[in-house]
């Protein structure tokens, strides 16, 4: 062994995440915003706090709620650890979503990176799944009814809906079986899958030659220590400090113990699912729970594989026109979705006007067309007037879908009060 003594094998192992030298442009903070790294850090924080919480949590209907109260009152720093876990979980959903936006809009998902996009989407799904399974564990009114509402949405999927919902709940309604299922998934299966997928994800990033950068004649290579590692440590410190500070003052919510005989008014899904719940208020379940989610899922999985005209890997929004289109279409989709929901809420009552028609048409197809036709005309306008190519049009589609979802989520979160009616 001829290695110098200053580098221990642990250090060398950690350095496998990075090469010794990288392009200086890759060390710029605004190339990645450190989002992927923050996700990995949050995973570690969640694992540690989660392991600590496991020592006091009891996954049964009788004791779950009391064990949370016990954690709060009898464990040193119990409430703090729970707050930290809660906040990190919330932040993980936000940060992994932003990471998804970053890699997509900086055009880093094509060719050899396409496989990693699929792994990334799988992990995005796992983030949502772990957040959702963790949601039930406190067994309070918030948890119970949010999970009831979401598993009931699964029931709308034709043919397999009921057996899928039954498999998730382990029962006809949300009860002790559901709690046990969710506990096992949340503290065992999902974290294990995460580790496997994370290893693949990191390895594929290395294999693709690090993060995606625009092509350039002259490359300037720098050492990662200290150029990159110091920045990573700084971001990690800021995130940890922010989380600790917030967890000290902000308590994770805990309502009354779950009561299956009393629905709170309103009963809302977990916040990241509120867009889906909003969709279901306006659209027939066949569209709201089947056609749109599946079409969107396939659209996202296929993103790296469509036939594109011109891909500029590593260039934000592909081109100046792409940038203009992304910003404009996001804003317009947001405003348009908002106006459309307002109109459906107060003025357009197709379910009453066309009561004799099948509800799939009156509350499904018609509202769906109200959304899809203007969007198609808008995209056509870009194509004809500004000669937008396929790459830019597909990017605009992605922006429209994401922006509309965020709009629905915010409406449902902020503007819906009693009876899920709009507050204005």
């Amino acid at each position: 062994m001829k290695e110098t003594k200053t580098v221990s094998s642990i250090e060398k192992f950690i350095l496998h995440l990075h090469p010794y030298k990288i392009d200086s442009r890759a060390t710029k903070f605004n190339r990645t915003f450190g989002l992927g790294g923050v996700c990995a850090l949050l995973f570690i924080i969640l694992s540690i706090t989660g392991l600590l919480l496991r020592f006091s949590y009891i996954p049964t209907v009788e004791h779950a709620y009391d064990s949370i109260l016990g954690l709060k009152n009898n464990t040193i720093f119990g409430q703090f650890i729970r707050n930290l876990h809660h906040l990190s979980g919330k932040l993980m959903v936000v940060v992994s979503f932003l990471h998804l936006l970053r890699v997509y809009f900086s055009q880093s998902i094509f060719h050899k990176r396409s496989e990693n996009w699929i792994y990334g989407l799988l992990m995005m799904f796992l983030v949502i799944a772990s957040s959702f399974t963790g949601y039930l564990l406190p067994w309070d009114q918030l948890a119970y009814w949010a999970v009831t509402v979401i598993t009931q949405i699964f029931e709308y999927i034709p043919f397999i809906g009921h057996s899928l919902a039954y498999a998730i709940r382990g029962s006809e309604t949300v009860d002790g079986n559901t709690l046990l299922n969710f506990y096992t998934l949340h503290t065992g299966i999902i974290p294990l899958l995460f580790i496997v997928l994370m290893v693949m994800h990191f390895w594929l990033v290395r294999k693709a030659g690090g993060i995606a950068l625009p092509k350039k004649e002259e490359q300037d290579f720098v050492d990662i220590v200290p150029n990159l590692v110091s920045k990573e440590i700084m971001v990690a410190c800021i995130v940890i400090a922010g989380l600790f500070l917030t967890a000290a003052f902000y308590d994770a919510p805990l309502l009354d113990q779950a009561n299956p005989l009393k629905s709170p008014n309103p009963s809302k899904a977990p916040w990241y699912f509120l867009g889906a719940q909003e969709l279901l208020l306006h659209l027939h379940p066949f569209f709201g729970a089947v056609v749109i989610p599946f079409a969107t899922g396939i659209f996202f999985l296929g993103l790296p594989f469509y036939k594109y005209d011109k891909i500029n890997i590593g260039v934000w929004f592909n081109s100046p026109l792409g940038k203009k289109m992304t910003i404009q279409s996001s804003l317009i989709a947001f405003v348009f979705t908002f106006i459309l929901i307002y109109l459906f809420e107060h003025f357009l009552h197709f379910d009453l006007w066309l009561a004799s028609w099948p509800s799939v048409i009156s509350t499904g197809l018609i509202p769906f067309l109200f959304y899809i036709v203007p969007v198609a005309i808008y995209l056509l306008f870009w194509n004809k007037k500004h000669k937008a190519n396929r790459t830019e049009l597909i990017m605009a589609c992605t922006s429209i879908i994401l922006s509309s979802y965020i709009c629905m989520l915010l409406i449902s979160l902020l503007f819906r009060g009693e009876g899920m009616l709009m507050i204005f």
Binding site: V149, Q152, A167, E172, P260, L261, P266, D351
Partner: protein, 153 residues
């Protein structure tokens, strides 16, 4: 893509093994279904104790027992068919309102106002020795109300 015999056999084996693994896993995580077998029926008491045209909530059994003008009984689930919230009685209309997403049902459990798309589920009622027995483990889905859903004493 060329598919030769070797590839075909390999893929066929993988498919069969995956299907088998799926059913094995599904079977091993399934819990014993407590609702099957000899389910206990909910005893609501003497049929004669209920007045015509009145609604009796049984929260422990999770149903509303309605006796209509002609003496027919209907046991409707308290769960909204939209997303599973517990509906409240509406004393003005004699129907039911869902607090979660504002679905409304009439006294037969039929939808008056969306987003719910089908009427409230109902439970089968049998009458033995003048007592009403309700099978609360077996909700029946329906697309509209008709007389055959009523039980007469």
């Amino acid at each position: 893509m060329k598919l030769n015999r070797r590839k075909f056999i390999k893929r066929a084996l993988i498919t069969v093994a995956s299907v088998e693994a799926f059913f094995l896993l599904k079977g091993s995580v399934n819990k014993i279904n407590t609702s099957s077998g000899t389910a206990e029926l909910f005893n609501a008491g003497k049929a004669t104790a209920f007045e015509n045209n009145k609604l009796y909530p049984f929260l422990t059994g999770q149903f509303f027992l309605k006796r209509f003008e002609d003496g027919g009984f209907l046991a409707m689930s308290i769960k909204c068919t939209h997303l599973g919230c517990i509906v409240n009685t509406n004393s003005k209309t004699g129907g039911f309102n869902c607090p979660c997403h504002a679905s409304q049902f009439d006294k037969y459990g039929e939808v008056v106002s969306a987003p719910a798309t089908r009427p409230l589920d109902y439970f089968p009622i049998t009458i033995e020795k003048g007592e009403l027995l309700i099978d609360t483990k077996k909700p029946i889905k329906r697309s509209s109300f008709d007389k055959s859903q009523l039980t007469y004493a």
